[in-house]
Symmetry: C2
Subunit: 149 residues, 2 copies
């Protein structure tokens, strides 16, 4: 049956998953962060079926995560680049990366790492509190409903 949607869910986590929580969308975004811009580049790098890629790119454009611009090399083709909203997905990609690095590799197994411009490995994402002390799961709670400013 048709996959259940959460587009109108009250919970922001559910809405985010409805928008970009499928197998391909975040990998396309990851590649876009890595500098890929062309249809063919995404298709080759991901090994995704072209039809899949077409529908995913369309959805991401509708969401305002990507936009289509004229190719930077002067050819008649188009490129797909991240919007502001797309760049805001950075923490999601990083958190997935850090969890994957920590829990999904056997010892000795090669994997990629995230570095800063100086070549230093970056630290863990932290959720800051007023006091500056990082917050963990047990330090937070959800207030069910609020009005958006």
């Amino acid at each position: 049956m048709k996959r259940t949607g959460f587009a109108k869910a009250e919970c922001p986590v559910a809405r985010a998953l409805d928008a970009i929580g499928d197998w391909w969308s975040l990998l396309i975004v990851r590649d876009a962060f890595d500098g890929l811009r062309r249809f063919g580049d995404f298709q080759k790098n991901l090994g995704i079926a072209k039809g899949m890629l077409t529908t995913r790119l369309r959805t991401l454009i509708e969401l305002g995560v990507l936009e289509q611009v004229a190719a930077s090399d002067g050819s008649a083709y188009q490129e797909y680049v991240l919007t502001r909203r797309g760049h805001d997905l950075f923490p999601i990609v990083v958190s997935l990366r850090q969890w994957g690095e920590a829990h999904l590799y056997a010892r000795g197994e090669p994997h990629s790492v995230l570095l800063d411009q100086a070549g230093q490995a970056v630290g863990q994402l932290v959720l800051p509190s007023k006091s500056g002390k990082p917050l963990g799961w047990a330090d937070t709670k959800v207030r069910k409903v609020a009005r958006r400013r």
Copy 2:
């Protein structure tokens, strides 16, 4: 056709998505963070088909994200609780929440918010650098392959 898997991908983002990047798994984890423990509670709260929930719980247990324990109320039933590995998913859930809050709600539309124990709204996740200045997308790069310690 059979969904393509990324379990053996070199990229940690791909592996993480392979493990928990489907529509339901992270919502189950979110509910577990909210304190839900019983099969029926997950099933009612999510509106998920029981068969779906069964397979998802099994996968999460195989991954070591959840574990089954004897019910806390003394009954003969079982409960599902987050492991250490499951708790480490907190930044992923929070980053999804924050992106959803920022981009997926119309003005005036009710939504839930994340608070600390004092009832203060929490800040944005940050990726700290050595200097303490938060890192953004343009400040990082990926080194392709490394050996795990």
